[in-house]
């Protein structure tokens, strides 16, 4: 292989003849300017931005991904809203990220009240705090209106449900329905009359 003297030699070692020919910048003999055609790049970027803006969703921030948690699939398209989250994985039950009980112990418990006591305590405290906030008017206007509508027995808009008595249940698809019944009973006893079951869209 021949050894060349150091220096600029773009068109000597790699003669971009096809580019130079169409670039329109080859006028003037030894000019080495090449104008890249950026139009396809800009087109691609524009389409990518449009696509990403269309699929942009903030609902994922409401829920936490956990090990052993596969949400069931449903056709429902109603958007999720902010509320306290009860998570049931294959092995444990957590409330707002804190362990409450294990699935096994909750299923083994045959108490006549049909409630999970540890979960009830936390939900009860949370329900009282939310009720207090609602009573003091510490809500955004749209949610305050939803609370007024709920008092008049009017159906709420999707994603605009009064936070008083609202909780999200995020359970693994293989969870035993007995456990779901227990959690729903516990939530109801604590004052959470409105449950949102988190699902994955088809």
């Amino acid at each position: 292989m021949p050894v060349h003297k150091a220096g600029s030699r773009l068109y000597h070692s790699v003669p971009f003849k096809h580019l130079v020919k169409h670039s329109g910048s080859s006028h003037g003999g030894r000019s080495s300017n090449i104008s890249l055609n950026l139009v396809p790049f800009v087109d691609m970027m524009t389409m990518l931005v449009c696509f990403l803006l269309m699929v942009f969703s903030a609902s994922g921030q409401l829920l936490q991904a956990q090990k052993g948690l596969d949400l069931p699939i449903a056709e429902s398209r109603e958007t999720l809203q902010q509320a306290p989250v009860i998570i049931v994985t294959k092995s444990e039950i957590t409330y707002q990220g804190q362990l409450v009980a294990t699935v096994e112990s909750a299923l083994r418990d045959d108490s006549p009240t049909f409630k999970i006591d540890a979960l009830f305590e936390r939900l009860d405290a949370a329900a009282k705090k939310i009720k207090e906030d609602v009573g003091m008017g510490k809500l955004p206007k749209d949610l305050a209106k939803a609370c007024d509508d709920a008092k008049n027995n009017q159906r709420p808009q999707p994603g605009k449900i009064c936070p008083d008595g609202l909780a999200i249940l995020q359970a693994d698809e293989s969870t035993d329905a007995r456990l779901i019944n227990k959690i729903v009973n516990t939530a109801k006893a604590a004052g959470f009359d409105n449950l949102l079951f988190a699902v994955k869209n088809k």
Binding site: L52, L53, E78, L80, E173, T175, D176, R178, A187, L195
Partner: protein, 167 residues
């Protein structure tokens, strides 16, 4: 965005737009959107726990209205009407519940005089250690009910159903 007019020759009308700031902006926006993109769409099914539970102090009195009750069992689904005491059994088809027949049954009830102008329905799952009902089947049943038009889904304990076919 800068524009240079007639830069090539004298009297030229070519306009060269400086698209570099545009590309910069697009690149930043694309990077931001890619990082914050949520690829799994989460939705919700809104249910209300019914007042009838195993807790006998909490049992509501039956009223005069006819209630459509759905009981999901491990090997079949029951659809029943309270007060009329009419039940339909939908056995499992293979490994899965017969969701098509379940949907057709609910559609028939929705079209009937009882539920033409109503959207309420109660669902319960009867699960035992030997024959457990999975949460995904319960969700599927609710999803079908919502799809048919019963958007006021109430989740109940099997013992609390207004129409109890096998209890």
């Amino acid at each position: 965005m800068g524009a240079a007019v007639g830069t090539d020759e004298k009297g030229s009308v070519n306009v060269e737009l400086n698209i570099i700031p545009f590309i910069d902006l697009m690149s930043c926006l694309t990077a931001f959107l890619l990082v914050t993109a949520v690829w799994v769409n989460i939705a919700q099914i809104n249910i209300q726990p019914k007042g009838k539970t195993r807790d006998t102090s909490n049992v509501q009195k039956d009223d005069e209205t006819v209630t459509l009750s759905v009981l999901v069992q491990a090997d079949r689904i029951w659809v029943g009407l309270s007060r009329v005491n009419e039940f339909q059994e939908i056995p499992k088809k293979g490994d899965e519940q017969d969701w098509e027949k379940f949907e057709t049954t609910l559609k028939d009830h929705k079209a009937s005089a009882f539920f033409n102008d109503r959207a309420d329905l109660e669902i319960a799952a009867e699960s035992t250690t030997q024959q457990s009902v999975k949460y995904k089947d319960l969700i599927h049943a609710m999803d079908v009910a919502v799809k048919v038009g019963f958007i006021d889904v109430g989740l109940s304990d099997p013992a609390g159903l207004a129409a109890r076919p096998s209890l």
